[in-house]
């Protein structure tokens, strides 16, 4: 066995903050051999990105390595000077980032940006660099690479930007590639193509890769070894099959349980559930009853002529939960906003409880008596709360405006009641959004939506911004709320596993049209349309058997 490519020994990183120094990494040790693919998984704040940034010396001003050693190719680079690092960065070790569009210079063509990297490490003329950049774009399989050389990042899709980023990272054939959440924010199908490309390129060029992700499935599928990090420490490290098949550390166990898979149910997600009374059974929608919501031939044409929603019809029974899935640009968010009456449809009718609400202009809908019946929970719980409103004010607002509650004591009672139902402790009511965690903000957002006692709740990617363990708790909460109150849900999500668990029926949207519709169970096990099949196949999964099989296949391939 040769010496490892990269070793991290007892790394400690401290950030100086307003409240004194905070130790983000408390002694992490990892090693990576040439050509190996290591996954680092963990939730936000676990220190997985900080570890990677320490290797590349990209920590921002506040962060400092306070202990330990990082060795790369036998060279100590723990506190290397700029002069020593610059030749290494990009040439020997590279990094690709989350949010590829922001990671590229917005006012420089991608061809020039790739050339910049090449020319930083090799002496090339501008023309040679351009030719090499073209080759690289071909290598990352961008369509029409010649034309893309002169494109600016904003002219490319997120997936294409990430390919450009990969092209830049591999331009000088580094031996180590660190991918920091490379596919977060991309669609599942794009995620699959990007990850396949990364796996293929690293395997062909013999590059080692560190994949940092919060998605256990992704790590299991693409890495030979996975390290789990929690609160600045590596708590467990093993091959994926062992790690996910028989996790030993309690945190890993909780993480594995919380990650939705094709078999999980809402109940199985949470291991140490709060001792809640057994939830009442779901109120089964009475067959043949009048639908609560009916959308007929809904069309939304934007000003630029783009048909965001194209002739969509569906209905929703009282107490039913309907999933809306599709990739970005499929029109699912537009549709949910139309149903919420936040924007107007161009054509079609929307009936709620037998009455036409599509005819009420969205700007006047706040006066309609149906406003309190249809409420929404937004994706970004931080941004959708007024930063100057305490949790109490946020929940009290709809009660005052829609519920007509004016009496202070009564208001207090009802807000506390809402908070209790979403599991938000009373002492948090006086806090402002920045003093709340992601999960608590989600609870406030849900409490605000249910405060006016709606009959239909539109959930627009309610858990997309949350860590899996928090997501599990929130999904659990949403499921319980529905059982208790008989709310109907329109559940918009790109996470197919979540939709399968939460919804009885699912609609698959593509380019504004419904491509498939049906009960969730059969739709996910035996999709009939090609598109749905493709979507489902693209979900990374970490069933132990599948991971084992993949590993064997990889071993024989290499």
């Amino acid at each position: 066995m040769t010496a490892p490519l990269l070793t991290i020994e007892d790394l400690k990183v401290t950030f100086s903050t307003r409240n004194g120094p905070v130790e983000a990494i408390k002694g992490v040790s990892l090693s990576l051999s040439a050509g190996e693919r290591l996954g680092i998984v963990g939730e936000s704040g676990s220190g997985k990105s900080v570890t990677a940034f320490s290797v590349m010396q990209l920590l921002d001003r506040a962060g400092k390595i306070t202990g330990g050693r990082i060795t790369f190719r036998g060279q100590d680079i723990t506190n290397a000077s700029r002069g020593m690092l610059q030749p290494l960065r990009g040439a020997a070790m590279s990094m690709i980032f989350q949010n590829p569009r922001a990671a590229l210079n917005p006012i420089r063509t991608v061809g020039l940006q790739i050339a910049d990297v090449l020319r930083a490490h090799e002496s090339l003329s501008a023309k040679e660099a351009r030719a090499r950049a073209l080759k690289l774009l071909e290598a990352v399989m961008i369509r029409d690479p010649e034309a893309r050389l002169d494109a600016y990042p904003h002219e490319l899709s997120g997936g294409m930007c990430q390919r450009v980023m990969i092209a830049m990272a591999i331009a000088c054939e580094p031996t180590l590639l660190i991918a920091d959440e490379p596919t977060t924010g991309l669609d599942v199908t794009t995620q699959k193509t990007v990850m396949d490309l990364l796996a293929e390129i690293t395997a062909r060029r013999g590059m080692a890769m560190i994949l940092i992700t919060h998605d256990l499935g992704l790590a299991a599928q693409y890495c030979q070894r996975v390290a789990v990090m929690e609160k600045g420490l590596v708590v467990e490290e093993a091959v994926p099959a062992t790690l996910f098949g028989a996790p030993t550390h309690p945190y890993t166990r909780r993480l594995v349980a919380a990650s939705p898979t094709r078999h999980s149910t809402v109940e199985s997600l949470v291991v140490d559930r709060e001792a809640a009374p057994p939830a009442p059974a779901r109120i089964a929608p009475r067959p043949g009853s009048e639908p609560l919501l009916a959308v007929r031939n809904c069309v939304k044409v934007f000003d630029n002529g783009f048909r965001g929603v194209d002739d969509v019809s569906f209905s929703l029974a009282p107490g039913e939960s309907l999933g809306l899935v599709g990739e970005s640009g499929s029109g699912k968010s537009t549709l949910s906003r139309i149903v919420c009456r936040l924007i107007d449809a161009s054509e079609g009718t929307i009936t709620f409880d037998g009455e036409d609400i599509g005819g009420i202009p969205s700007r006047d809908f706040y006066r309609s008596r149906f406003r309190r019946d249809i409420q929404i929970v937004f994706q970004d719980h931080g941004d959708s709360l007024n930063p100057r409103f305490s949790a109490f004010d946020a929940i009290a607002d709809p009660l005052r405006l829609l519920g007509g509650v004016q009496d202070g004591r009564e208001l207090r009672r009802q807000v506390e009641d809402c908070a209790r139902r979403v599991g938000l402790p009373e002492e948090f009511l006086d806090r402002f959004p920045h003093q709340l965690s992601g999960g608590q903000k989600a609870r406030v957002g849900i409490a605000r939506a249910i405060a006016a006692k709606p009959r239909l709740l539109v959930l627009d990617e309610p858990t997309a911004a949350l860590d899996v363990s928090v997501q599990a708790v929130i999904l659990h909460l949403l499921d319980r709320l529905r059982r208790e109150t008989g709310l109907a849900y329109l559940f918009v999500s790109h996470d197919l596993n979540v939709v399968r668990m939460m919804c009885e029926r699912t609609i698959v949207l593509q380019k504004g049209r419904i491509v498939e519709e049906g009960p969730s169970g059969p739709l996910f096990t035996a999709p009939s349309s090609d598109y749905a099949r493709e979507l489902i196949a693209a979900i990374p999964h970490f069933d132990p058997e599948a991971a084992l099989a993949r590993q064997k296949a990889l071993a024989t391939a290499v």
Binding site: L58, G90, N105, I107, D116, A120, H154
Partner: protein, 343 residues
């Protein structure tokens, strides 16, 4: 080319949309001049003991005996034909006066802006690279001094130091040494005209006269430019694509100058437009202190003597220049930021 067409279309739209504002400025200044106290006819009468008949006659000559709406219509008709009226003080048509004096103001403003930028950009960048360091604090102090010392004070201090004590600056009167030959007028910008004529003595003389007022003005606008550069650099330096540049081993120079600075300059460009317009209108104090024959001091003199036409002409000129500066900034912005021309 697509880019040129898109820029031309944007520029055209901007010009059209600024016409109502210009029209509003014309009417507003007209009315303002009419409500200001003071009767120009009395002011321009031959002397304190001019008879009522003489005043009436002047009034009739100036058209002041007509009702105000009719005066306004006449005024608008004149503007339409390019006639801004005649100055009572100089006896010249206002257009002629403005054309002869505008280059002086523009030359001063351009040179001052250039000086300010040459100083402000490096200072802003240095301050951003080392926030809260000694250099950052020094830059902060220079900027504070620059904004809080009024231009007439700094101008007089400069004259005191460099002309009176050190004797290295020429006497602060006018654009060029009266004994140096005036170069033939081509653009009205003495530095350009002298260079074109190859008259380097005149060029040096003009430059020597220009340097003190330009420095005075530059010091005044140093603060907004340097502070904006610093703030915008600070924001860009923490952005993802700068981190990408670092991660892929680009040299520090390249990261700072190509990746960070070019992006950071976009907001500075907007500020530059505003600063330029402010300078052009506000350099009346500098023009007065240095006896600079510019448009601002011309307008001030006219205002003090209730001479309507030059003031109205000056305001219209400033409004037009403001529109044009904004237009230029807009076009430059479109060229510098590829995301804009998309729309």
């Amino acid at each position: 080319m697509g880019l040129a067409v898109s820029i031309a279309r944007r520029a055209g739209k901007r010009v059209v949309s600024s016409l109502p504002a210009l029209f509003g400025v014309v009417i507003f200044t007209f009315l303002l001049m009419r409500v200001l106290p003071g009767d120009p006819a009395i002011f321009f009468a031959s002397g304190p003991n001019a008879g009522q008949a003489e005043i009436e006659q002047i009034r009739q000559q100036m058209g002041l005996d007509k009702p105000v709406p009719q005066q306004l219509l006449l005024y608008l008709r004149d503007i339409g034909t390019g006639n801004l009226g005649r100055s009572m003080t100089t006896g010249q048509p206002v257009v002629t006066d403005l054309v002869s004096r505008l280059p002086a103001s523009l030359e001063l403003t351009f040179v001052a802006l250039m000086l300010a930028l040459i100083l402000a950009l490096p200072l802003g960048i240095l301050a951003a690279l080392r926030p809260n360091s000694l250099i950052d604090n020094i830059v902060r102090m220079i900027c504070t001094l620059g904004v809080c010392v009024p231009t007439f004070v700094s101008g007089l201090l400069f004259i005191f130091a460099f002309y009176y004590i050190l004797g290295i600056a020429p006497d602060p009167t006018g654009r060029i040494d009266i004994f140096a030959g005036q170069p033939p007028t081509i653009t009205g910008f003495l530095l350009i005209d002298a260079a074109v004529a190859g008259d380097w003595d005149a060029w040096r003389s003009a430059a020597r006269q220009l340097i003190l007022p330009a420095c005075t003005m530059a010091l005044f606008v140093l603060a907004p430019l340097a502070r904006m550069t610093r703030a915008s650099m600070l924001a860009v330096l923490t952005s993802d694509f700068v981190r990408t540049g670092e991660a892929l081993g680009l040299s520090r120079r390249r990261v700072v100058l190509v990746y960070a600075l070019r992006n950071a300059l976009l907001p500075v460009l907007t500020i530059m437009g505003i600063v330029f317009s402010t300078m052009l209108g506000a350099n009346v104090l500098v023009e007065k202190v240095f006896s600079w024959p510019g448009v601002a001091s011309y307008a001030l003199d006219a205002l003090l003597s209730s001479d309507y036409a030059p003031v109205q002409g000056f305001v219209l000129l400033m409004a037009t220049i403001f529109v044009m500066v904004n237009l230029t900034v807009d076009v430059l912005y479109g060229l510098a930021d590829p995301r804009i021309s998309i729309e």
